[in-house]
């Protein structure tokens, strides 16, 4: 599903963000991306979204080199990638329903699709009864579930999550994680960058550890690790 071949990225100020990364992520995998701040996690996700291009090497998604994609095709690539962020990024003046519907409307889905998909996905994330509330009327955990609903409503092949539990208490983190697991079970590849040691250790999924732009560990059914935990 995702393949990095000798991928390197250096920022204009000269600091290397990623150095010679090689990895494969299969369809339907659940991968934790861990490492201290500045280890290159965010760059990794931005490269997958093609918000940036690698300086060297290439990235393949669904068998295609995304670096060779013409600029106008990039939006179509992003329709296959859902995104969740630490700060939710919901539209404050739209209701829960409208926030999720917006994601379908702006890619030109007909109204009938919107009307059938949105209630269904809100049911999945357990917010069907809050669909007419504004984000400001919801708890942080609920807001993040809206964000997950928005990311998943178009049934993307890949779901990227950048510290999705970073702003949440343990109980809410737990509910987001179980939601991501359910999404993963539908066959969606999930890549989640996180600092949450307890969560990673409990889940026992594949763990990729980045340190100063280098991949220092790639472990199936891994743990967060002592060394990396000390960086926090």
């Amino acid at each position: 599903m995702i393949r990095f071949e000798n991928v390197g990225k250096t920022y204009p100020n000269g600091t290397p963000a990623l150095k010679d990364i090689n990895l494969d992520i299969e369809k339907g995998e659940f991968v934790f991306l861990v490492g201290a701040s500045g280890s290159g996690k965010t760059t990794f996700l931005r490269l997958l979204l093609r918000e940036e291009l690698p300086d060297s090497g290439r990235i393949l998604e669904a068998g295609r080199d995304i670096g060779e994609l013409p600029k106008w095709r990039v939006p179509y690539l992003r329709r296959n990638i859902g995104c969740v962020f630490q700060d939710f990024r919901l539209l404050p003046n739209k209701t829960v329903y409208e926030n999720v519907a917006f994601a379908l409307e702006v890619i030109g889905r007909p109204r009938s699709t919107v009307e059938s998909q949105v209630p269904q996905i809100l049911e999945l994330v357990g917010l069907a009864d809050k669909s007419n509330n504004l984000p400001s009327e919801l708890s942080g955990g609920e807001q993040q579930r809206v964000a997950v609903a928005r990311a998943f409503v178009n049934r993307p092949l890949i779901l990227l999550a950048d510290e999705p539990t970073g702003n949440l208490d343990p109980a809410n983190s737990e509910s987001i994680m179980s939601l991501l697991e359910r999404i993963n079970r539908t066959g969606t590849t999930v890549v989640m960058a996180t600092h949450d040691k307890a969560l990673v250790d409990r889940m026992r999924r594949r763990v990729i550890v980045l340190d100063k732009g280098e991949m220092v560990r790639d472990q199936v059914r891994g743990v967060y690790g002592v060394d990396e935990g000390a960086h926090r």
Binding site: L77, R78, R79, R89, V106, G108, R109, P110
Partner: protein, 284 residues
């Protein structure tokens, strides 16, 4: 497609309403500047039409005093006939001058005069049109001559005045059009800023660049269109209620053409303003 039109329409209207004061300023500036452009165009066309009308007629008119004696009249007639500068002359008696007078001015200005008040005149064609002013100076001080007029000279002077007026109008209009473009650019920029969250979410979920851009372009387009419609109304009103002198009267085709130019320019600056704003401030 239908979904998209509904979306673009909704977004455009809500953008315009959100920024209504800026929108009003932009629309009014467009309206004022395009009214000037329209008036300048109308002025130019009527001047051109008037010149043509005048130049096909007599080039030098020797007006006799109404009291001139038959002897004075005959002397002038002979001299005109002998002058190498004059190709040929036609004599207009009082009745004929009066008829022409009635035809060329509105009734409100003609009803106080009768044929008896009219001077007689010689309508002459100079051998060389440019010599009209020599004929003028030669006959001006002849006994019995009231005045000699050479319309060509007048036309030239008037055309000169009109040209200056036109340059002033167009220069003013140019400055105003520039500021209108900047105002439109600025309203679009504010709209982009107000919607930056939406735009970032749209990019995230894979909306195409044109999908994101079009509501902003439509917004500028509509501002230009509204402004130019106001200007077209003003130009039409000017033409209808304050027609210039009869000889300047223009037909409706000229008016339609002028309004078409006005609307075209308005739509153009609206689109250009928003296009610049999008290039500079919308990062898609």
């Amino acid at each position: 497609m239908r979904v998209y039109f509904r979306y673009a329409f909704r977004e455009t209207i809500s953008n315009l309403w959100r920024n209504r004061m800026m929108t009003l300023a932009a629309v009014l500036t467009v309206a004022v500047s395009l009214s000037l452009v329209g008036s300048a165009l109308l002025l130019k066309q009527s001047a051109a039409q008037a010149s043509v009308a005048w130049q096909t007629g007599t080039r030098v008119t020797v007006w006799m005093n109404p009291t001139a004696s038959q002897g004075e009249l005959d002397a002038v007639r002979t001299q005109l006939a002998d002058s190498p500068l004059v190709h040929r002359c036609v004599f207009f008696d009082q009745a004929r001058d009066y008829k022409e007078f009635l035809a060329s001015l509105p009734p409100s200005e003609t009803n106080v005069l009768t044929a008896a008040d009219m001077p007689t005149s010689f309508r002459c064609e100079p051998t060389i049109p440019a010599d009209a002013f020599i004929v003028e100076s030669t006959f001006k001080n002849q006994p019995g001559v009231y005045d000699v007029t050479a319309p060509e000279q007048q036309i030239r002077q008037m055309n000169h005045a009109i040209r200056i007026l036109q340059i002033v109008f167009l220069a003013l209009a140019g400055v105003l059009l520039l500021s209108a473009t900047v105002l439109i650019l600025n309203t679009i920029r504010m709209a982009i800023f107000a919607r930056r969250r939406e735009v970032s979410v749209m990019k995230l979920v894979g909306a195409t660049n044109w999908f994101i851009r079009i509501p902003f372009i439509t917004e500028g387009f509509i501002q230009g269109l509204l402004g130019s419609l106001v200007a077209a109304l003003a130009v039409t009103a000017l033409h209808t209620w304050y027609p210039l002198h009869n000889e300047f009267a223009l037909n409706n085709v000229a008016l339609l053409g002028t309004n078409a130019v006005v609307i075209g320019v308005g739509v153009l600056i609206g689109s250009v303003g928003s296009a610049i704003a999008i290039r500079r401030f919308l990062d898609v």
